[in-house]
Amino acid sequence: MDIAEYLGGKTLKTFIGIVFIFYFLFSSSILLRNFCECLKIVYYPMTSLIFIILTFIIVICITLHHRFSSIAKVNLLIIPLVIISIIFLFVANIKNFSLDNIFPIFGDGLFNTFVTGLGNLGAFGGITLLYFLPPYLKEPQKMKKIYLSSIILGTIYFLLCVSIILFMFISLMYTNQIMPLYSAARYIEFGNFFQRLESVFLLIWILQMICYLTIIAKISLSIFKKITNIRDEKPLILVFGLLIFAISLLPKNYAISKFIEDYIYQYMVIIISIFLGIALLGLAYLKKRKKKELNTDVKENI
C-alpha cells in the first residue's frame, strides 16, 4: 500500500487497495464455498450448506476481534501440525504408491502442460500475503529470511501433496475426485485398530482452512483501514464477514464454484498476485533509482 502511494499517490493507493480487498474477499469466499461443499458431501449430507458456511463465518467474526499477533501465534501452532500430517500421509501411503501412475508425464501434450497449465501457478496464491507482511514483522531485517522460508515451506507442502496424489491415483481418476487428499487418507491402515483416519486429517485441514481465512480477512480489514484512515476497524468485522458469506453463496452449485476456482480464480492470482504485485515493486524500484540518480546529479552540480 505504501509502495503504491509512493508510486502514484493516494489515488493509486486506493485503487490497489480496492483491487486487493476484492481479490482477498473473492478468493476466500470461493475457497470457503468449495471446502464447505466437500465437507457437505463427505460428512454432512443432510445439513444445509448455508449452516456449514455460517459456522466458518461466525468463527471468522469472533476471531477478527483479537489482535493480529494472536492469530499469527495460533498459526504458528497449527502449521507444524499441518506439515506433520502431510508427511505422515505421505509416509503412511508409501505402500500404495505406484510409479506407473505418473505416466504419461506429458499426457495432455506439451502445450497443455506448459501453457494452459500455467494457470496452476494459482496454487501459489498465498504468496500475495507476503506483500502485506512487513508492517507486522517484529524484526523487519529478517524479512528476506522469513519470505524465503515461507516459500520453501509452501513448496515442500505442495510437492508432498502433489506427489501423494500423483503416485496414488491415475490422472483420469484424481481430476474427477472431490478432495483427492482426503481419498488418499482413506487408504491409511495400521493393523486392525487404525483403519480409517481420514476424519483426523479433516480436523487438521479445517484448522488450516480457518487459519487461512482469518488471516485473509484480517489483512483485508487492515487494507480497508489504511485506505479509509478509520480509527477502529472493529465495527466493520461483521460487514466483512457478511460479504464473505454473501460471495460464497453466489455460485449456484458446486460445479460453478469449482469452475470459478479452477479457471477464474487461478488466472486472477496470476494477474493480481504475480503480475500486478511484481510490476508495482519493479516500478517503485525504478522510481527510487531515478530519484537517487537525480539527487546525486543535483549534489554534483552544487
Binding site: T55, K73, N192, S199, L203, I210
Partner: protein, 566 residues
C-alpha cells in the same frame, strides 16, 4: 406503547389501587443514602485529636457506639510522669489484645509509682553551658511529655504517635491499643496484638513429596515471616497498603528489589491503589479485582498456599501479593505453563518432572476435549473407530433409550454434583460421598439402562484427568469449557471441535497477564530464556524467566557444579 412497556404489561402485575398500601418500599436500595453515615468514606477528612481526654473519650464512645457495643474497653487511669499525675485513657478491643502485655508493659509502668515515673527532674535539661564576659549561655532541652512517655515509660517494642482519630481507630481495629493523655493533642498507638489464630500447618491443597510441609496462615505477618525465612535476603521488600473503604484490609506487596522489574512493581501498585471497593476479605477477591479482562476466564495470577513456591517465584523476579486474613499468596504475572506446573517439579530430576509435566499436558487435553471428541466420533465420525470397538459401543448403547448428548450431560452433571458435594460435606463423610456417588450410582445407572458403560469410562477418565491439573482455578476453567466442546462436538462433530479449538487458542494467545503474553513459552515457539514448559536439568537452569525482564538475567553460574571441574 414501547416494547418494554408491552412486555411489562404482559408479564408483570401492577395493582390498580396503590393507596391500599400503608407503607413505602425503598425503590432502589443502592440509591438510598444516609447523610450522617461516614462508613466507607473515601474522602480524606481527618479529625484532629483534642487535648482533653474527656472530649476524646466522648468522641470515641460515639464512634464506637459504646452504649450497645460490648467488646470495646475504655480504661481510665492516672498516669505518673516525673512526679506529676495526668488523667489518661486506654482504649482497646477485648479479645484482640494480649492482656498480659497490656498489664505488665503498659498499665504497670504508667500507673505504679517507680523510679522512672516518680523522678522529679527539672522541666528543662541543660545540655551545654558556656560563660563569656560573665554572661552564661546555656543550651537547654525542654521537657517533652510525649517523647518521655514513649521513650522512658512504656517498654513496648512498637509505639507510634498519631494525631488524628482515623489513624487511632485504624490501630485499635487492627488489635492495638490507644493511649490518650490529658493535655496532649496526640495519642499513642501501641502494638499489643494478641488474638487467637491458626498455627502453621501442612498445605492441604498443594501436597508435595520432597518439598517443605509448611503453609501460609491467615495472619499477614506470619506469612511475611515465612517468606523471609525462605528468601533470607535484605533485598526482599514488603510494602504494605490497605484495600477496602470499610475493611481497610492490609495487603503486602513483596518483591526482591534487586531482581524484580520496576514496571511490574509499579503496575501491581497502580492496580491495587486504584480499587474502589468497600471490603476485601480474601486473596480470591483481590485476584478478580486486579486481573486483566479475559474472555476465557483463565486464571492470570497464581494462587498458592506454599511459602516455598512463593519464594521461588520471588527469586525468579516476580511480585507476590499477600492479603491479611487469607492463607493464599498471589503471584504475578501468571502464564499458562505455571498453571500446569507443580512445586515438586523443581525438587525432582528433570527427566521425572518432565514426564509428569507431559502427563499433565495430556490430562489438560483430556479434561477439555475427551467428552467432546467422544460425542463427535459417535455421532459423526464412526469410521475412525475399529469395527470391533464400534460394535461393542453400539451393543452397550442398545439398552439406553436416550440420545447420546443427554446421556453425556446427565453423567457429567452428576460427576460435578458428586465433586461439589464431596467438597461441602464434613471431611469424614467426603470420601464416602465419592465412593457412593461414583461406584454405586454409576453401577446402578448402567444397570437401569440410563447410561452406557463406555460413557462411564469416558467420564471417569475425564474426571481423573481433571484432578491431575495442579492449579484448582485452571482445572475449573477446563471443566467449564469441556461443556462448550461437548455441545460443539454434538452440533458439528470434528468441524465444531476444530472451529471451537481455533477460537479457544486465539483467545488464549490474546490474553495478557500484567503485560506478559499468557502463552509465552508455548506459542510463539521462539526461544524465550528460562520460559520453556519443560525443565532443563538442575545445573542448566541458568536463566530467570526471560519474559519478566528481570534486573538480573542469570540465576546461577554457567557452570553451576564447579566441583566437577576441580
Amino acid at each position: 406503547m414501547s416494547f418494554k412497556d408491552l412486555l411489562s404489561s404482559l408479564f408483570t402485575y401492577t395493582p390498580e389501587n396503590k393507596e391500599t398500601y400503608n407503607f413505602n418500599l425503598v425503590e432502589d436500595i443502592n440509591t438510598k443514602s444516609y447523610p450522617d453515615s461516614t462508613i466507607g468514606n473515601t474522602e480524606n477528612k481527618k479529625t484532629k485529636i483534642f487535648p482533653s481526654v474527656t472530649v476524646n473519650s466522648d468522641y470515641l464512645k460515639t464512634k464506637y457506639n459504646l452504649l450497645i457495643n460490648s467488646d470495646i474497653i475504655f480504661r481510665d487511669f492516672i498516669l505518673n510522669a516525673r512526679g506529676k499525675q495526668y488523667h489518661a485513657l486506654l482504649i482497646f478491643i477485648d479479645g484482640m489484645v494480649n492482656t498480659e502485655i497490656m498489664n505488665e508493659f503498659i498499665l504497670e509502668p504508667l500507673m505504679m509509682r517507680n523510679k522512672n515515673n516518680s523522678f522529679d527532674g527539672g522541666q528543662n535539661r541543660v545540655i551545654a553551658e558556656a560563660v563569656a564576659n560573665n554572661i552564661t549561655v546555656r543550651k537547654v532541652k525542654k521537657f517533652n511529655l510525649p517523647n518521655y512517655i514513649s521513650s522512658c515509660l512504656v517498654p513496648q517494642n512498637a509505639i507510634k504517635q498519631v494525631s488524628t482519630f482515623e489513624d487511632c481507630i485504624s490501630g485499635i481495629n487492627s488489635g492495638n491499643c490507644a493511649l490518650f493523655v490529658d493535655t496532649l493533642d496526640i495519642a499513642f498507638d501501641i502494638e499489643v496484638k494478641g488474638f487467637k489464630q491458626r498455627g502453621i500447618e501442612k498445605p492441604s491443597n498443594e501436597i508435595v513429596i520432597k518439598g517443605p510441609h509448611e503453609a501460609f496462615v491467615e495472619n499477614i505477618r506470619t506469612n511475611t515471616s515465612l517468606i523471609r525465612r525462605f528468601v533470607n535476603n535484605e533485598n526482599l521488600v514488603i510494602e504494605n497498603l490497605s484495600v477496602g473503604n470499610i475493611t481497610k484490609t492490609t495487603c503486602g506487596i513483596c518483591y526482591i528489589s534487586e531482581l524484580a522489574n520496576e514496571d511490574l512493581i509499579a503496575e501491581v501498585k497502580f492496580r491495587m491503589n486504584n480499587l474502589d471497593v468497600d471490603s476485601l476479605l480474601s486473596a480470591g477477591q483481590l485476584e478478580q479485582l486486579i486481573s486483566d479482562s479475559n474472555n476465557l476466564n483463565t486464571p492470570q495470577l497464581i494462587s498458592t498456599e506454599r511459602p516455598d513456591k512463593a519464594a521461588s517465584y520471588l527469586l525468579d523476579g516476580r511480585v507476590i501479593i499477600l492479603v491479611n486474613g487469607s492463607p493464599y499468596a498471589l503471584i504475578t504475572p501468571g502464564i499458562l505453563s505455571d498453571f500446569l506446573s507443580s512445586p515438586d517439579d523443581k525438587n525432582q530430576k528433570a527427566l521425572f518432572s518432565n514426564f509428569t509435566k507431559f502427563i499433565r499436558l495430556i490430562a489438560a487435553f483430556i479434561t477439555l476435549l475427551l467428552p467432546g471428541l467422544y460425542i463427535a466420533v459417535t455421532s459423526f465420525h464412526q469410521e475412525i473407530l475399529p469395527t470391533e470397538l464400534l460394535f461393542s459401543i453400539l451393543a452397550s448403547r442398545a439398552n439406553v433409550p436416550f440420545p447420546i448428548i443427554f446421556e453425556l450431560l446427565v453423567l457429567e452433571t452428576s460427576f460435578e454434583l458428586i465433586r461439589e458435594a464431596g467438597l461441602r460435606v464434613p471431611s469424614p463423610i467426603g470420601p464416602t460421598i465419592g465412593i457412593v456417588g461414583a461406584l454405586v450410582m454409576g453401577q446402578a445407572a448402567v444397570s437401569a439402562g440410563i447410561v452406557s458403560p463406555i460413557l462411564i469410562i469416558v467420564v471417569a477418565i475425564t474426571g481423573t484427568a481433571s484432578f491431575a491439573i495442579p492449579d484448582y482455578a485452571f482445572g475449573f476453567h477446563l471443566r467449564v469449557y469441556r461443556f462448550v466442546f461437548i455441545f460443539l462436538g454434538y452440533l458439528c462433530g470434528f468441524l465444531g471441535i476444530a472451529l471451537g479449538l481455533f477460537v479457544y487458542m486465539v483467545s488464549m494467545t490474546d490474553t495478557k497477564s500484567f503485560g506478559v503474553p499468557y502463552t509465552v513459552g508455548i506459542s510463539p515457539l521462539e526461544h524465550v530464556k528460562g520460559s520453556s514448559y519443560y525443565l532443563p536439568a538442575m545445573e542448566k537452569r541458568e536463566y530467570r524467566s526471560g519474559f519478566l525482564n528481570a534486573k538480573k538475567e542469570n540465576k546461577q553460574g554457567h557452570i553451576s557444579m564447579k566441583w566437577k571441574n576441580t
